[in-house]
Amino acid sequence: MEKDQDKILSDVTTGEYKYGFYSDIEMDRIPKGLSEEVVRIISAKKNEPDWLLEFRLKSYRHWLTMKMPTWPNLKIAPIDYQNIIFYAAPKERKNLGSIDDIDPELKKTFDKLGIPLEEQKHLAGVAVDAVIDSVSVKTTFKETLAEMGIIFCSFSDAVKEYPDLVKRYMGSVVPYTDNFFASLNSAVFSDGSFCYIPKGIRCPMELSTYFRINSANTGQFERTLLIADEEAYVSYLEGCTAPSRDENQLHAAIVEIVAEKNAEVKYSTVQNWYPGDKDGKGGVYNFVTKRGMCKGENSKISWTQIETGSAITWKYPSCILRGDNSVGEFYSVAVTNNHQQADTGTKMIHIGKNSKSTIVSKGISAGHGQNSYRGLVKVLKNATNARNYSQCDSLLLGDKCGAHTFPYLEVDNQTAIVEHEATTSKIGEDQIFYCNQRGISTEDAIGLIVNGYAREVINKLPMEFAVEAQKLLQISLEGSVG
């Protein structure tokens, strides 16, 4: 009886990664390896100003003094940095005026991924920045947004066209000294999205970036910078996929968000990097530093993430609640199936007065997956009236997976109220049978139950993406069964 149940669960959880295809596009690649020379080449290829090259070199030299951290609950095979290509770009990237200028192979890729590069096909007004192999290929609605003073472009373009803005904010939330992978990224970052919402402007459409790794043996080092000036509002979504490969690929990105007084930023991620095959071979290493600074009074930053891919996910989207009355939120669903591992969570640093943070973390483990939640709630001495609510739930499918919780609470102010709840559950056989008896197949029942479990987080996604996310959740646990 137990065995049959396990068999059904195992059939359901062995999935086929449907984004595993590879696109044959002409690429410009530099030789493998990392050295000061490589950093200079990258900067030269992108025609960067001296100040940026200096920034990279400082970061690289600092990185050389650092060691990869060993504290996470993850088994990571040693990474040979000399065996990675640190720059790959689709060849002949002219200044793309229209959609027709894009390599048709590229267009086909995004069509296959279901990503609307053509403005006519847009999902009720979503601007898309398409980044393939670290290079921003196309940003839709740029002109429409520009009319409102909103800047949404590739990071590389921002460096050329808005250097003052970039200089002012880059590294202000994640300094190049922050951690091992942040230093690496600061040295070799390629591209990403840049977004600036001017004072008082409420961005009228969802902004999104789709990251697609295509080339083999390359690392992805994007850098995203999102600034909401006073009273501004923006909702931003990033999606990621990568082809199936036998080797692990490193993705070490940095996302910095700044919210000035009364501003609000919603940042959502649907991450579906190649997770490795069912024996744990290959897959993307997703080591990302994401941090938001609630700089001004009453500012608010919300992180929502659905992490279903990657062989290893290692990230802690965090909020620094500097402004008085600022609000930080973290909503997460992380799936680990087959041999995936995740050590993810958040840091909420309460600095200003009356700051508030909410953490809802839902882990789903299946197969041999190992899922760890690591969260820090830190209330500094002068942070009066801080409020935090944390909830971490784990759902276990089958009996070979693991769920772990590492909550850290550092509270240095007596007026703080910090709440923490945690639950662990299994999908019970009785629950599945109840569904069966109503005519619902076991796979559909698991889909219903998992989506019900994750609903609180999925509801935080912009509506256009909530449906995609639900399907993705079901797919990451069901695959080609039925």
Partner: protein
């Protein structure tokens, strides 16, 4: 509708059903009564298709088909409904979502298109009234936070939504107060048609005051030891199960 022939079943190697034969015709209500441990719930489990019960002998024919060969989902889609004795909670899955999925699976099986959202909600409203179920309950997660009585009413509500051909109610009356009992029975009676059937499993005669059976069987130690009309239930209520036990013992020694 349903023909059970010499059904024997065991759980974990222990023999529970020791040769059950039963014939349920369309339009009939059969009551199965018996003391604790007699095998009533095991019988319900076999009919619904629970894997932990092993059928060791016998046949079960439903609408001419071999029921034991069918998966639980298929049995359900062919019109078998089990009102659980202990309905389980499914947090996070709303009743609406759950029922819509179930109803549309049934429709797909019959070759019908799925119901539109508005048609479905209308159907829910109509059936809710039938069972006097609170609107608020329908918006919550399946059985989550429901009282015992509410869970049982919810079973009848689901039965109303799925319109089964054969409904097996496993001790639906346990844990119900008089008012809830009347509402549940009322719901069942309203759903009764000449082309559907009910197997009502119960300890007590009380429910059978409201849901009048055509046939009453007494299950004792894995066998049906007595079959009669509805008066049998009243006799049991009066004399208790000891009376049955003594009768059996006397028959054995005689």
């Amino acid at each position: 509708m349903l023909i059970i022939n010499n059904l024997k079943a065991s759980i974990g190697g222990k023999n529970i059903l020791k040769g059950i034969s039963l014939n349920v015709k369309p339009g009939e209500i059969h009551a199965i009564m018996g003391p604790n441990g007699s095998g009533k719930s095991t019988l319900a489990a076999v009919l619904a298709g629970r894997e932990f019960v092993e059928v060791t002998e016998g046949t079960v024919t439903y609408l001419g088909k071999n029921l034991l060969d069918m998966t639980p989902e298929d049995r359900a889609k062919e019109g078998i409904f089990l009102g659980f004795q202990y309905p389980i909670e499914i947090p996070g899955v709303s009743m609406v979502n759950f029922m819509k999925t179930a109803v549309n699976e049934h429709r797909k099986h019959k070759g019908l298109d799925p119901l539109s959202a508005s048609d479905f909600l209308k159907m829910m409203r109509d059936k809710k009234e039938l069972v006097e179920i609170d609107s608020k309950l329908a918006n919550r997660s399946v059985n989550e936070g429901f009282s015992g009585g509410e869970k049982k009413k919810n079973e009848i509500f689901q039965m109303a939504m799925l319109e089964p051909k054969l409904a097996i109610l496993d001790e639906t009356d346990s844990g119900l107060d008089i008012d809830a009992l009347r509402i549940v029975a009322n719901g069942v009676n309203k759903l009764k048609r000449p082309d559907n059937s009910f197997i009502v499993i119960t300890h007590y005669q009380r429910l059978l005051d409201y849901i009048v059976p055509d046939v009453v069987h007494v299950l004792y130690d894995g066998r049906i030891v007595k079959t009669a009309g509805k008066e049998l239930a009243l006799e049991l209520e009066e004399k208790g199960y000891d009376w049955i036990k003594k009768e059996i013992e006397n028959n054995v020694t005689a």
